[in-house]
């Protein structure tokens, strides 16, 4: 069809839509898609400050993580141009950057000081050395445990525990009659939920997703050990519904005092020590466990702001990113809500700040982040980048299905062996289809 017909059709639609398109024509407005996590919601609260300073209006599209992924992925692959800034993670950024869908963030102002971004974060959000998304907050994973329950069990948490110790401590702390589970972990299906956790755990068991020839490895003993260990530990000391528990469910449980330990995102530290927590005064932190194989089980992730290449308002979007991910924002939140509530894990200077060093989980968060290396995450060599994921476009789909098999095994609907066999089949089929 030719352009005039297209214009005519489009115009017919728009005329009928009562001039929506022209309503905000005079003032500059940027549209930002973001996830409904606590730190992002807090950022929305400060939007007025940004508008005041810059004269740029901000429209927010806040969605739950899964819905957000659908929405922004559809938009970026069809070059829909609905958003000026998208909140994406370490998985999407290098893939989208490589496809030329994101605006390179290589010309940020000197004042912003991009060199201050933690190298691990900058590395994960770059493609070929070019930064494509600026981290709003970064995270690894670590052990959060109840100091009072540990004491009661007569145990002491080392700074760098092993899985054996964790399993023993979990069993010792479990008191089903009192509603206390020794350990709470993610078993929920989804590559970003239970899938991320089991993958990070598998690293410490010496497993890997693919060998150097991109052949899936679920038929190896390492994977069997990983999943069996997880299921055995959780059956013995975990909450009843762990096969459907994700980050949020476990956070609720921990805050209600129903978990002895919880291994999850480092950002959770500020929630479990915050005002919604009933156990805020009894929380200790330790590095994610290992098995003495040289790799720990902690992941690396960042929620970052990126500018889709199709935007009409590149300059305004960049201005917002510099504002939201710069040091000024951190100081503003610290002044208003205390240092424990600033977005963590993004900047080196934050961890050099003596005020922030007083926050109880600051050092452990930094140590966890520093001990995860997306370029070398497995014991045996692997061809992919990423700790709890492999940064290839096919991964999200495969890992979601694989984690569904695992969740079914956790729930007792199939054995771990069956789950692994199915996982191997799913992954092999998909990788062949993808042309590996």
């Amino acid at each position: 069809m030719n352009n005039s017909l297209r214009a005519l059709l489009g115009a017919t639609f728009l005329c009928a839509s009562t001039g929506v398109a022209f309503a905000d024509g005079h003032a500059k407005t940027i549209t930002i898609a973001t996830v409904n996590n606590g730190d992002m919601v807090r950022m929305q609260g400060y939007t007025d400050k940004f508008t005041e300073e810059s004269g740029i209006n901000v429209e927010w599209v806040t969605l739950e993580e899964n819905v957000l992924r659908q929405r922004v992925t559809t938009d970026i692959t069809t070059n829909g141009g609905s958003f000026d800034i998208m909140t994406i993670g370490m998985y999407e950024t290098p893939i989208w950057g490589a496809n030329g869908w994101l605006v390179p963030l290589d010309d940020l102002s000197a004042e912003y000081n991009a060199a201050d971004i933690l190298p691990a974060m900058a590395g994960g959000l770059s493609h070929d050395g070019t930064l494509f998304a600026a981290p709003f907050y970064g995270e690894s994973s670590m052990v959060m445990y109840r100091t009072d329950l540990m004491e009661k069990a007569g145990l002491e948490m080392p700074d760098a525990p092993t899985w054996t110790f964790i399993a023993e401590a979990a069993a010792a702390m479990t008191d089903r009659d009192a509603g206390i589970n020794g350990i709470c972990l993610r078993g929920k299906a989804g590559w970003g939920e239970g899938g991320a956790f089991i993958t990070a755990t598998s690293n410490s068991f010496g497993a890997r997703w693919f060998d150097e020839n991109w052949k899936p490895q679920f038929d190896t003993e390492e994977w069997a050990n990983t999943v069996n260990f997880f299921k055995d530990t959780m059956d013995a000391s975990g909450p009843a519904g762990y096969a459907t528990n994700g980050f949020n469910e476990n956070l609720s449980l921990f805050n209600q005092g129903k978990c002895g330990m919880w291994i999850d995102a480092t950002v959770a530290a500020s929630f479990v020590t915050g005002k919604d927590s009933t156990v805020a005064d009894h929380v200790g932190f330790a590095l994610a466990p290992d098995n003495g194989l040289g790799k720990r089980s902690n992941w690396l992730w960042a929620w970052a702001l990126a500018i889709p290449a199709g935007t009409q308002q590149k300059a305004e979007a960049k201005q917002f990113i510099e504002w939201a991910t710069g040091t000024g924002y951190i100081e503003m939140v610290a002044a208003n809500e205390g240092w424990a509530n600033v977005p963590p894990g993004a900047r080196t200077s934050l961890y050099e700040n003596p005020e922030y060093q007083k926050v109880p989980f600051a050092q452990m968060t930094l140590d966890s982040i520093l001990s995860a290396d997306p370029n070398d995450s497995t014991v045996l060599p692997s061809p992919y980048v990423g700790v709890q994921f492999a940064a290839i476009p096919e991964f999200a789909g495969i890992a979601t299905e694989v984690s569904q098999e695992f969740s079914a095994a956790y729930a007792g609907q199939q054995t771990v062996e069956e789950a692994l066999a199915n996982a191997q089949e799913i992954a092999t089929e998909a990788m062949e289809a993808a042309g590996y």
């Binding site: 297209r6 639609f13 839509s17 929506v20 919601v41 927010w60 829909g80 609905s82 609720s252 805050n255």
Partner: protein, 276 residues
């Protein structure tokens, strides 16, 4: 009813019916109650029923975080708009099928219904690409048209079955009197068809209000209705039952109240030809 019913029977039927009714309504009632609790009280063990410190803080929190009035407005415009547009297109079609049936009428009708079986996600990319090509993503008119098309088969079907129940003799009598086609529709048919049309309108407003696939994927801010509003509260970090309940009540209350007020009209025409 001529049958004699003892009071005792009536009382026992009443108890049973109320029990079922309350059971069906319970989830909504519980959500309503939870929306006025603190997050702590929302998960209290054992659950608290009526005697807790009622608070409006959840509604305030939800209100602060989102643009509820705008989402509500969009929901109303999209639901009502798509329904009206659908009725305008469907009434003539249903009329013609009911009163001037051809050989293929039934097939056309069946085919229309079968278009509803297309899984939405299967046509996601085509539709998004089309909408983008026309430059109408995130416009209310796009959603009005899309939802109208999704529901059109149901509208036509509902009207058709209703029109068919109108006795043809009345029309013929009108024709004998020399009424034109136009006056036949306006003066004879329309008054008789109003209950059916009203019911169709109500049902389709409900269906359009609750559509949660296209309304999220085809909107950003300008046209985002309550379904998108809910998607921002569905799994936030931390305790959220009370806030989720508040957001849920805000999203469903308008349609629930509308449904209750108009239930007589809704029920009267909601037969789909089920009664002969």
């Amino acid at each position: 009813m001529a049958r004699a019913i003892t009071t005792k029977q009536k009382v026992s039927w009443t108890i049973l019916a109320w029990a079922f009714g309350l059971l069906m309504f319970f989830p909504i009632m519980w959500t309503f109650l939870t929306s006025f609790k603190t997050e702590g009280a929302a998960i209290a063990d054992p659950p608290v029923w009526f005697f807790f410190d009622w608070t409006l803080e959840n509604y305030t929190a939800v209100q602060e975080r989102s643009n509820y009035p705008k989402a509500l407005m969009n929901s109303i415009i999209i639901a009502v708009g798509s329904t009206i547009l659908g009725i305008i297109i469907a009434v003539p079609a249903a009329w013609a099928m009911a009163f001037v049936p051809g050989k293929r009428t039934k097939d056309v009708l069946m085919w229309m219904l079968s278009t509803k079986m297309l899984p939405a996600v299967g046509v996601l990319y085509p539709l998004v690409l089309l909408a983008k090509w026309l430059g109408v993503i995130d416009s209310r008119i796009l959603l009005i048209v899309v939802l109208m098309l999704i529901n059109l088969p149901i509208i036509v079907w509902m009207l058709y079955t209703y029109f068919k129940e109108i006795p043809g003799e009345i029309l013929e009598a009108a024709r004998m009197d020399g009424a034109s086609l136009k006056s036949e529709i306006i003066h004879v048919l329309t008054p008789m068809a109003i209950p059916g049309i009203a019911s169709t309108i109500l049902l389709n407003i409900i269906l359009a209000w609750n559509e949660a696939f296209w309304t999220i994927l085809l909107t950003t801010v300008n046209a985002a209705p309550l379904t998108a509003f809910i998607a921002s509260f569905s799994a936030p970090e931390g305790l959220f039952y009370a806030k989720l309940s508040a957001a849920s009540m805000m999203a469903v209350a308008p349609i629930l109240i509308m449904g209750w007020f108009s239930q007589k009209q809704l029920v009267r025409g909601l037969t789909f030809g089920a009664v002969k």
